[in-house]
Subunit: 197 residues, 2 copies
């Protein structure tokens, strides 16, 4: 159809999450049309990110420094560690600005079917980290899925003799959510955890 | 939230057509996670495309060569020129493999409101090109919108004294389309252009 370079560009773009052949073609055309204002700056930022960004060896976050800016931030509460599955969840929590502790990224969830065990999630590293005497509470902010809850129970079990408080995110009605569209499990959980007003 | 390089990467990705902040974050994370298998190859193909791809000075297509592989293809019918708005339309026609002539990309549509006149669309170049004695028919494959039809009428008007046959795409029911979901204009056009079976 077009030149080999354009075909290769479309093929690589269509591998990105959420993009298919159609959106990749659209993006490729936009990049070729706006070479100076779009393609070149994007290449430069991608190269800069590839060079600068590393994984924080303490918590697993992506940052230009290791330990990351969250781990080194002395204004954050080091006695509180929030366990998340991935960096995207960490970013989601950070956007709320509601959590002022530190994080620990497992990089996945326990999943016997996919052959993902405790060693793959570096849970020993989490255990070693929270047993430094500083950490008082571990918040398990894992997905409310089967794998997420299995992982949460496993971590809670491994931590139960340390004396550290273990908590999980509350279940309930999402803010702005309509009861009519909610699943039964969420409604029963919200009923069980009802609060005085 | 994250390092400056990550923020810049997300900002540049979210400028791509069809992407917003959420999909840009998702793509940025995937790129950072799969640096060797995704980010580096994408940077290389983008650089290769930026270097190799040029605009065909004859028809306006993107290709690694100028004149492009369609313009230089001797198996294609040079007496037939299809006028399209953009390269994406040219690609769409090429995917059907139903057209074996050559193309002419206007790069836009006449739009008095946006201040786009005949000079911006290089329509003089099209006129000069088709008046070489080789071109017998010009197919106006422009969008069935007001601007598209205005542009088609303008080009047809400029070509009317050349003796070249001018045609347009047929209007009708899309293949696989249900009448119930079609607009009235399309149904009346399909009725008017009804064919013996």
């Amino acid at each position: 159809m077009a030149g080999a370079e354009i075909e290769a560009l479309i093929r690589h773009l269509s591998k990105l999450p959420g993009l298919g052949p159609r959106s990749a073609r659209r993006i490729a055309l936009a990049l070729l049309k706006k070479r100076e204002s779009m393609l070149d700056p994007l290449v430069r930022t991608m190269q800069a990110a590839a060079e600068a960004v590393r994984i924080c060896q303490t918590c697993g976050n992506y940052d230009s420094q290791d330990p990351c800016s969250i781990c080194t931030d002395t204004r954050r509460d080091g006695s509180l560690v929030c366990v998340v599955e991935g960096v995207s969840d960490l970013w989601a929590l950070e956007r709320t600005a509601a959590f002022k502790g530190k994080y620990h990224v497992t990089g996945g969830l326990l999943s016997p079917i996919d052959g993902i065990g405790p060693d793959d999630l570096k849970i020993d590293r989490l255990l070693a980290r929270v047993q430094n005497g500083v950490v008082k509470e571990v918040v398990l902010a894992l997905s409310a899925t089967v794998d997420g809850q299995t992982t949460a129970h496993y971590i809670a079990d491994r931590l139960k003799d340390t004396g550290i408080t273990i908590s999980g995110l509350a279940h309930g009605v999402p803010v702005g959510g309509e009861l009519d569209y909610l699943d039964d499990g969420t409604i029963s959980a919200a009923l069980k955890a009802r609060r005085p007003m």
